[in-house]
C-alpha cells in the first residue's frame, strides 16, 4: 500500500501537466512501515526527463538527481520509496519498457494525463526477477 500526501500529490500532478505532451518523471520520498509494505510519500521531487530522444513515450531519470534525492532522504530521516512518471494520452499501466528499466522493491507511480489534464493514476511493483509487475494499492487525494 502506498499513500501520497496532498503536498507531494500536487507536485506530481503539476509536473505531469507541465511536461505534457512529454512524459515527466520524479522521485518519491517518505516513510516505510510493516517491513516495507506500507509506504507514505511525504516529498515528491520533480526531475527533468533525461531521455535523449522523443519524450512523448519515454523517460529516464538522471542518476545525479537520484543521488541528490538519496542524500535528501538521509538528511530528512526518510527513504527513497520509488518513482513517478506520466503517460500522456495513455492509460496508467506498467509497460514492458517500464518493467525492463525498473528495480524491485520500489513503488512505481504512473499518472495518466489526457488532453493536458489529470485522468487517473496507479502504482506498481516489479517482482525480484523483474519478469512481472503487480499493482500496489494507491491512496491519494481526490483531485
Amino acid at each position: 500500500m502506498i499513500e501520497i500526501l496532498p503536498a507531494p500529490w500536487e507536485v506530481i500532478l503539476g509536473h505531469a501537466r507541465a511536461c505534457y505532451p512529454r512524459e515527466c518523471c520524479g522521485i518519491l520520498l517518505g516513510e516505510v512501515g510493516d517491513g516495507g509494505s506500507r509506504r507514505r510519500v511525504t516529498i515528491a521531487v520533480a526531475c527533468a526527463n533525461a531521455y535523449q530522444g522523443e519524450q512523448s513515450d519515454r523517460f529516464e531519470l538522471d542518476p545525479a538527481d537520484q543521488f541528490e534525492a538519496q542524500r535528501l532522504a538521509r538528511k530528512e530521516g526518510l527513504e527513497v520509496l520509488g518513482f513517478f512518471h506520466s503517460h500522456p494520452d495513455c492509460d496508467a499501466y506498467f509497460s514492458a519498457t517500464d518493467l525492463a528499466h525498473s528495480w524491485p522493491w520500489y513503488s512505481n507511480l504512473v499518472v495518466s494525463i489526457r488532453h493536458g489534464g489529470f485522468d487517473h493514476a496507479r502504482a506498481f511493483r516489479a517482482n525480484e526477477a523483474q519478469t512481472e509487475s503487480t499493482s500496489e494499492e494507491l491512496i491519494c487525494p481526490t483531485s
Binding site: E23, C25, G36, Y51, D57, R58, F59, E60, L61, P63, A64, Q66, F67, Q70, R74, E79, V80, F83, H85, H87, P88, C90, Y93, S95, T97, D98, L99, A100, H101, S102, W103, P104, W105, Y106, N108
Partner: protein
C-alpha cells in the same frame, strides 16, 4: 575504511544494512570486498561478464565514477561510495 551506501532494493542481500564498510583503495577493490562479505549482492551489481551492470551507477563522494576513472577510481580511507540504481521507462 570506506563505506558503501546500499539502496533499499539491495539491502536484503547485504544483511538488511543500509551502510556497509569494506576495505579497498579503488572502486573495484571496495566492490570486490563488499561482494565477498555479501556474495548475494554480486549478481545484482555485476553482469555475467564481470563488469558493472549498466543499470548500476556508483558515486565516490559527490562524483559519478563514469566521469572519473570508472572502476579504477581511487577511494580514500574515509570516503563514501553510493550505489544509485538507474531508472527509466515509457508508455510504449
Amino acid at each position: 575504511m570506506p563505506h558503501i551506501l546500499i539502496p533499499a532494493p539491495l539491502r536484503q542481500y547485504a544483511g538488511g544494512q543500509s551502510s556497509v564498510e569494506a576495505p579497498g583503495a579503488t572502486v573495484a577493490e571496495v566492490l570486490a570486498a563488499l561482494t565477498s562479505l555479501h556474495p548475494d549482492l554480486r549478481k545484482h551489481l555485476f553482469s555475467d561478464q564481470g563488469g558493472l551492470r549498466s543499470f548500476v551507477n556508483i558515486y565516490v563522494g559527490d562524483e559519478d565514477i563514469r566521469y572519473l576513472e570508472k572502476e579504477q577510481t581511487a577511494v580514500g580511507a574515509s570516503e563514501t561510495l553510493t550505489i544509485v540504481p538507474s531508472i527509466a521507462g515509457g508508455a510504449r
